[in-house]
Amino acid sequence: MKRSRILALILAVLAIASPYANLLAGWTPPLATAVCFDTLALLGLNLIFGVGGMLAFGQAAFMALPAYGAGILDNLGVPFAFDLAAGIFGTIALAWLMARVFVRLPGVFFAVGTLGFGYVIEGITRAFPAITGGASGLAFARGRQIDGEVWYGIAVIALVCGIAVYARLVRGGFWRRLRTVCHDELAAAVVGIDVAHVKALVFTIGCSFAAIAGILHAYYVGVVIPEDAGIDRSLEQVGMVMVGGQGYLLGPLLGTAFIQWLSIVTGYAQQYELLIYGTAFLAAVLFARQGIAGWLLRLWRTLAGWLDGPPAKAPPSLRATITANESTERHGDCLKVSHVTKMFGGLRALDDVSFVVGFGEIFAVVGPNGAGKSTLFNIVSGIEQASAGDLHLAGRDLAPLPIEKRASLIGRSFQVARLVPDLTALENVMVRLDQIDPTLDEAERAAVALEQLEGFGLGQLAGRPVRDLPLGQRKLIDLTRAAVGDPPLVLLDEPAVGLTEDELAHLAQVMNQLRARGSAVIIVEHNIEFVASIAERGIVLDHGQTIALGRTVDILRDPRVHEAYYGALA
């Protein structure tokens, strides 16, 4: 066992024992118990807001709801075990229902929707005093029969389990998927992630943490009041996650412990509590976006490096063969576009465009700005629907397939690389593999992704976070991601823009590799020399109309192409 592991274990045991040690004024077992329960709920919020980036401003309602549910059933004389189960699972079901509906809301509407939910639950608990106890709340007599020490034990066990579950969830493929969705939903869909499903799942899991924590908290405190569901509590929770360090495993624990201890030592000064809290929140948002956890983590890394010595060299990656999409035959026609028209209101962005691209062919789409090239790509990759016309890929109709389902058939790069900056190059490529080949395990995915990067001469960048890389290399990584898993069709959106001479030569090499493997490659490109050097055939669009179609040498010589493309220059 590594020495740093042993130290971490010792620190954890000391932390658990600390409330009984009288080390710190105000840090007592009752406070620590409450902190454990709140942290459990905040782990869920950290998942939704810290990792998933969704502004969930109504989490307190998901803590109070199961407590109210269980309490009301208890008062009706329903057996205790059933009360608990109904409270928790009812809340989780409601969260799933809300998530399905709410995830489509863009950022701030999602925030206000969840905030509104908090208001509704608080309002309802006040509006029906006969059932909910009104302003004085609902009492839970059962919890008082349990000793404080036992409660602390329950709280610690619950929290340790919660942290273990959280740590188990937030890693590997799920972590990459979440980060991609959080950073760029469109790119996430294009690499094959069902964005709405992932967001709904994260929201529901997060709310499950809140539900379990909420019911434990209510039985521990012995009462649940309308304020427990209210938006003030919800927004305080967001603040605690921010102060603790959003997205960090220990962020919720540190934030909760710090803020709650602070309000205890300031003497529960009702008057100053809000100000202290507001100041901490504001300072964290403005100046310490990594929070306490981020700051401690840096310290810990130094300490661990000093304890353990330099990290052992990673074992050589095991070689996995790329599992090509064997089901599709790699000869004949790949993409067949027939009479595709796209209207934006009165504007014809594409007008009756038809062409065929074969396997093992590089096909160019050329035209001035506004010609409809990007619209064509968006229709092929499923981001937009054609107003009329058909698309067939290897004989299969694309129309019924949503964006994320097309990922195994179509790889796509973007004009400006849409990678997740805080993931490494390797992880960014793996995200696509997670989706299109679920049979691979983690090591195999890493091996395939690394092989692809090495094949494209980018192997030395694999472990680097994308944010540290220059734009040209990001474009090549984006392209690698589009090509990984050997999709039958690869769409490259202006791959040559912004590349240096060397990178350009490299790009040509990579594209020839793709062709050699039998993929059909379509590029949108303004660099005519590059297009002429690499593509056999192409199409020229202008204002949505096809003005030339055929061999690249012929279409580029066409006088109408000169006129449309060079305009005043011709």
Binding site: V108, V112, G113, L115, I231
Partner: protein, 288 residues
């Protein structure tokens, strides 16, 4: 007394304030893409500063002026010192800043003036007006008249003046506006100041009737946002939606009781949010 007429009259009063709040939020949203969660704090600051100054035996107009200036200055400072230096941050982080500011202001007001509701004398004193069995205080009539005029003045200012068009250009495309010689920073600052003054104006007219305390702000932000969201962030529509929200609240309170107000209002909000987003497949922009 006719409960329906009474509900409509008080609904119009509250609605005028919501319309003012909503237009302020919309103006800020358009120039900066930020939904300012600290917007309602301008209302709280305006109302409380006025109450404090009026309590010092100074003339009422001095107190009212102080209230408006304080709220406009607060809003301007929020933009200038907290948001402007962080313009490159993601929008969600900027929204979190405004949320933190809302909490901070609440805490500061709590320490400064305590938890008691505060108020100050009415600007319009006189016998109340009776309309169709409902009673409207003279202050209420002034509130509706001044509030709605101010709310209407904003879209007219945006559409009809050079400065207003610069604000709109900033909203449409800040980079292009900057190239065309619009001072984007000035436009943003101005929009925040206008928004702050608007919410304070609402407070100056309404507080003599319903009082204000340190935690009024967030509720006001929420009301303003509901109206603005209902209007699809359009300044003209926001006025109508503010009035509608006020009327709906008053009618629910009259017929179902005050406790039903929040649940009904926020269920409406959720319904609106869903309606607004019916064509959106996911949160982000869909153009590649």
């Amino acid at each position: 007394m006719n409960p329906l007429s009474q509900a409509i009259l008080s609904g119009l009063m509250m609605g005028s304030v919501y319309a003012l709040l909503a237009t302020g939020l919309v103006v800020v949203f358009h120039t900066s893409q930020i939904v300012n969660i600290a917007h309602g704090e301008g209302y709280a600051i305006g109302g409380i500063v006025t109450a404090v100054v009026a309590g010092r035996d100074l003339p009422l107009w001095v107190a009212l002026g102080a209230g408006i200036v304080a709220a406009a200055a607060f809003s301007l400072m929020l933009e200038r010192f907290l948001l402007r230096p962080r313009r490159e941050w993601p929008i969600n982080s900027l929204i979190l800043i405004t949320l933190a500011v809302a909490f901070f202001v609440r805490g500061a007001l709590n320490v400064a003036v305590g938890t008691d509701p505060m108020s100050f004398p009415r600007l319009f004193v006189g016998p109340p007006i009776r309309i169709a069995g409902g009673v409207l205080p003279l202050q209420g009539l002034g509130l509706i008249a001044i509030g709605l005029s101010a709310a209407f003045a904003i879209p007219i200012f945006l559409a009809g003046t050079r400065l207003g068009r610069q604000l709109r250009a900033t909203a449409e495309n800040p980079d292009a506006a900057e190239l065309m010689g619009v001072n984007v920073d000035f436009a943003r600052g101005l929009s925040f100041a206008i928004a702050g003054a608007c919410s304070a104006l609402g407070a100056l007219l309404l507080v003599p009737l319903v009082s204000v305390d340190f935690q009024t702000g967030l509720g006001m932000t929420m009301r303003g946002f509901i109206a603005a969201a209902l209007a699809g962030m359009s300044p003209f529509l926001a006025i109508g939606c503010g009035l509608f929200l006020g009327l709906a609240e008053a009618l629910v309170t009259t017929y179902w009781g005050a406790l039903a107000k929040d649940p009904v209002v926020f269920l409406t909000l959720i319904a609106i949010a869903l309606w607004q987003s019916r064509h959106i497949r996911f949160g982000g922009s869909l153009r590649a």
